[in-house]
C-alpha cells in the first residue's frame, strides 16, 4: 500500500504542485520562526589562561583538553551538584552538554602563555554562567593535574574558598563555590603546594570607568544642590508669617449721595420759588439738604481713609505672594532634582549590573608543615593565611619559562576569566534554514499525501474499474499526449 501511495503522491505532484508549494512555504517559514523563538538562549564564556611550562607541554595539554574529557570530567565531578545539568540522565546529559558547549583555543597577548575559551549556552543567564564556570573549573582541574602531576588536586590542599563577589555583583555574575577535597598530604611525596583560589573582578574598561566617574560626580553635584535648596526652603519656612489684614469696610456710595443732594437742592429751589422760608416744606427741604451734605462729607472722609488703608495692605500682600512663589519654585526644583538623582542612580546601578568580568586566580605557595596530631583522612583546618589570598597580577606578563621545569610557586598563575552571559541561539542560522527547508518539504509531502488519500476522484484504472457496473468493459488508458 505504502509504495503505491508514495508513487501516487509523486505522480500527483503534477496536479497538486500549488498545495505542495503552499506546504513548503508554510512549513518552512513556520518552522524557521518557531525554532528561532525556541532556540533563544544565553551564552556565557570563560577563558582559561595557562603559562607555557616545559616547552610545548602546555599546548599539548590544551590540545588534549578537548570536548570529550572536559564533559566527562564535568559529569563525574559535578553530578551531585545542583548545576544546570542535574536533571539529565547520564547519556542525555553528556549529549546535551556536548551540544551546549564549544571549546576554542585563542591567541593571548600575555607572552609565554596559551588560553582556551569555553562557551556555554543555556536558557537562562544564571544557568549559562553556572555551566560555563563549572566546565571551566573542570577543565582547569584537569589541566592542573596534567601540568603538575606531583601536585594533583587530590594531593594539594585547598586552603581557601573563592572569595565572595563584591556587594555590587549580581547573582548571575557571581562564580559558584568550588568543592575541592581537603586531605592530608602523603609524607613520602614532594612537599605539597598550597593552592589559593581567589576571585576578583576584572578592571573595568576605560569607557565604563569614565562613565561611572562622571555619573558619580554628577550625583554629588545634584545632592549638593538639593541640600542647598532644602536649606533655602527651610529658611523660608522659618521666617515669621505675614499677617495680611482683612479688607476694610466697603466704601460709601459717594456718587449716590451727590445725586441725592442735587435732587434735594433742586426741590428746595422749586419750593423757595413758590413759598416763603417759613413754609414747612421749605424747612423740611432745607433740613434734608443739610443732612445730605453732612452725610456726603462723612462719606468723603471715610472713603479717603479706606483708600489709605488699602494702599498700606497692598505691599504686605505683594510680599506674601512673593514668598509663596519662591516656596513653590524651591519645591519644584527639589522634585526635579529628586527625579534626576533617581535616574542617575538607576543608570549607575545598571552600569554596575552590566557586563562584568570575574577572574579566578590560583596561586601555589609552599604549604605549612602538616599537623602530626591530626588523624589521617580528616579535614585539615584552613590556614589563617589562606583567608587573605595574595593579589595576583593578572595582566602582568609572565616570567620567562624554564624548559622542562614544572610550575613553581608564585609563578604566573593559572587564570579563569568569566564574562556575563549575552543573548545567543542554540542553533546557527544556516542550520535553522536547512532544518526549516527539510521540515517544509516534509510538510508539503504530508499535505499532498493527505490530499491524495482524501481525494474523491478517479485516481487510476483500478479506481475506475471499481466503479463500473457489470457489463461495462474497461478498454484501457490513453497515454498523455502533448499537442
Amino acid at each position: 500500500m505504502y509504495p503505491s501511495l508514495t508513487a501516487r503522491v509523486l505522480s500527483s505532484l503534477r496536479f497538486r504542485w500549488k498545495l505542495a508549494l503552499c506546504g513548503l512555504l508554510l512549513g518552512g517559514t513556520g518552522f524557521f520562526f518557531a525554532s528561532r523563538y525556541l532556540a533563544r538562549c544565553f551564552q556565557s564564556s570563560v577563558v582559561i589562561g595557562f603559562p607555557v611550562v616545559g616547552g610545548s607541554e602546555s599546548k599539548a595539554v590544551l590540545s588534549s583538553v578537548d570536548q570529550g574529557p572536559a564533559v566527562e570530567g564535568l559529569v563525574q565531578r559535578y553530578e551531585p551538584e545542583p548545576v544546570a545539568i542535574s536533571h539529565l540522565g547520564t547519556w542525555g546529559r553528556r549529549a546535551s552538554l556536548r551540544a551546549q558547549l564549544s571549546f576554542e583555543p585563542i591567541e593571548t597577548t600575555v607572552p609565554n602563555s596559551v588560553a582556551l575559551r569555553i562557551v556555554a549556552k543555556e536558557k537562562t543567564p544564571e544557568a549559562a554562567n553556572a555551566l560555563a564556570i563549572a566546565v571551566g573549573q573542570a577543565v582547569l582541574d584537569q589541566a592542573e593535574s596534567r601540568l603538575m602531576p606531583t601536585h594533583s588536586p587530590a594531593a594539594s590542599t585547598s586552603s581557601a574558598q573563592p572569595a565572595p563577589p563584591p556587594s555590587t555583583s549580581t547573582p548571575s555574575s557571581s562564580p559558584p563555590p568550588a568543592a575541592a577535597p581537603v586531605t592530608a598530604p602523603d609524607p613520602s611525596s614532594p612537599p605539597p603546594l598550597r593552592k589559593t583560589v581567589t576571585w576578583k573582578a576584572a578592571p573595568e574598561s576605560a569607557e565604563v570607568a569614565a562613565t561611572r566617574r562622571q555619573l558619580r560626580d554628577q550625583l554629588v553635584q545634584e545632592q549638593d544642590r538639593k541640600s542647598r535648596l532644602q536649606d533655602d526652603l527651610a529658611a523660608l519656612n522659618a521666617m515669621p508669617k505675614i499677617q495680611v489684614p482683612h479688607p476694610a469696610s466697603s466704601p460709601s456710595n459717594e456718587a449716590a449721595l451727590k445725586s441725592q443732594l442735587n435732587t434735594a437742592n433742586n426741590s428746595l429751589i422749586n419750593l423757595e420759588n413758590r413759598y416763603t422760608n417759613l413754609h414747612p416744606d421749605v424747612i423740611a427741604a432745607k433740613r434734608r439738604v443739610a443732612d445730605l451734605q453732612s452725610a456726603l462729607e462723612e462719606a468723603i472722609v471715610k472713603n479717603a481713609a479706606i483708600a489709605k488703608q488699602d494702599a498700606a495692605n497692598q505691599s504686605k500682600v505683594a510680599e506674601a505672594q512673593a514668598r509663596l512663589t519662591r516656596e513653590s519654585t524651591l519645591q519644584r526644583q527639589i522634585a526635579q532634582l529628586d527625579a534626576q538623582i533617581a535616574r542617575d542612580t538607576a543608570e549607575l546601578d545598571k552600569l554596575g549590573q552590566g557586563k562584568k568580568t570575574w577572574i579566578q586566580v590560583i596561586h601555589y605557595s609552599p604549604a605549612e608543615p602538616p599537623v602530626a596530631s591530626q588523624p589521617a583522612g580528616s579535614p585539615r583546618p584552613v590556614p589563617a593565611a589562606a583567608a587573605t589570598p595574595a593579589p595576583a597580577p593578572v595582566s602582568s606578563p609572565a616570567p620567562a619559562p624554564r624548559p622542562g621545569a614544572a610550575l613553581q610557586p608564585d609563578e604566573q598563575p593559572v587564570t579563569l576569566t568569566a564574562t556575563s552571559p549575552v543573548p545567543a541561539m542554540f542553533l546557527a542560522q544556516p542550520v535553522l534554514g536547512a532544518l526549516s527547508l527539510l521540515f517544509g518539504l516534509l510538510l508539503a509531502a504530508v499535505m499532498v499525501w493527505l490530499a491524495e488519500l482524501l481525494s474523491r476522484s478517479v485516481k487510476d484504472a483500478e479506481s475506475l474499474e471499481a466503479e463500473l457496473p457489470y457489463g461495462v468493459h474497461y478498454l484501457g488508458e490513453i497515454p498523455r499526449m502533448t499537442p
Binding site: S457, P469, H473, G476, E477, I478, R480, P483
Partner: protein, 208 residues
C-alpha cells in the same frame, strides 16, 4: 502559448503508425472492434466537460481511416462544438442541427479533409435550444444515410454534465464509449453511470 489556445489544439496521432499515441489508439480500436459495434456506429461521451471526447473521437476516426475505411465524424455537441477548432471551419454555415431539424440533408453538410480523408459533419454554431424533437425522423434518416455511405460513423457527443439528451443519443446510436479523464470527480462518474444505465458498452481512461 496561452492556456486557452493550448486547450483548443488537440493532439491527433490516431493515424500515425510509430507514435505512442497512434499505437495506443490502434490498440483501443482493436479492442472496440472485438465488440463488433452494431451498425458500425460509435457514440463517444463522457461524464464531464473537457474529459477528452473530441480528441478520442477524432483519433479513433483517424485510426479507422488508417485502415482504409471510410469514416464519418459527426459532431453532436451542439452546446460546445469543438470540431471546427480542430479541423477548421466548414464551408457551409449549416450543421448537424440543421439536418436534425429537417432543413437540409446530410450530404450538404459533410465536408472531406484532403490531408487525412476524414469526412466531417460539424455541429454548426453553438446553440442551447436543442430539444428532444431532434430524435425524430430526420435523425433516423441521418443514421441510415451515414450507414449507407460510410463504413464507420463516429459520433462526438455531448457530456452527461452538459446535456440531458445523452441517454437518448446513446440508445439511438448503439455502441457507446465513455471517456473518463484521470483525476475527474467520482461524483460525476457515478452520475453518468446512473444516467446511462445499461447504455454504456465500454470505458476508457484518458490520462491527460
Amino acid at each position: 502559448m496561452s492556456r486557452a489556445l493550448q486547450e483548443t489544439v488537440i493532439p491527433l496521432e490516431g493515424d500515425l503508425p510509430f507514435s505512442p499515441g497512434g499505437e495506443r489508439y490502434k490498440q483501443l480500436l482493436d479492442r472496440i472492434l472485438e465488440f463488433a459495434p452494431a451498425n458500425r456506429r460509435i457514440f463517444v461521451t463522457s461524464p464531464g466537460n473537457g474529459d477528452g471526447k473530441t480528441v478520442t473521437a477524432a483519433n479513433l476516426a483517424l485510426a479507422l481511416r488508417a485502415r482504409q475505411s471510410s469514416v464519418l465524424l459527426v459532431e453532436l455537441a451542439f452546446e460546445r462544438p469543438k470540431l471546427a477548432a480542430v479541423f477548421g471551419s466548414p464551408p457551409s454555415r449549416l450543421g448537424v442541427d440543421s439536418v436534425l431539424a429537417g432543413r437540409c440533408s446530410l450530404e450538404k453538410i459533410v465536408c472531406r479533409r484532403n490531408d487525412n480523408g476524414l469526412n466531417l459533419a460539424m455541429a454548426g454554431p453553438a446553440r442551447s435550444d436543442v430539444d428532444l424533437a431532434i430524435f425524430g425522423k430526420p435523425f433516423q434518416n441521418m443514421l441510415e444515410m451515414a450507414k449507407k455511405r460510410y463504413d464507420w460513423t463516429i459520433f462526438d457527443g455531448p457530456s452527461v454534465e452538459a446535456s440531458d439528451q445523452v441517454e437518448e443519443f446513446a440508445r439511438n446510436i448503439g455502441f457507446t464509449l465513455l471517456v473518463v479523464r484521470k483525476r475527474s470527480s467520482l461524483k460525476l462518474l457515478r452520475r453518468a453511470l446512473r444516467t446511462l444505465d445499461g447504455a454504456i458498452d465500454t470505458v476508457i481512461l484518458n490520462n491527460r
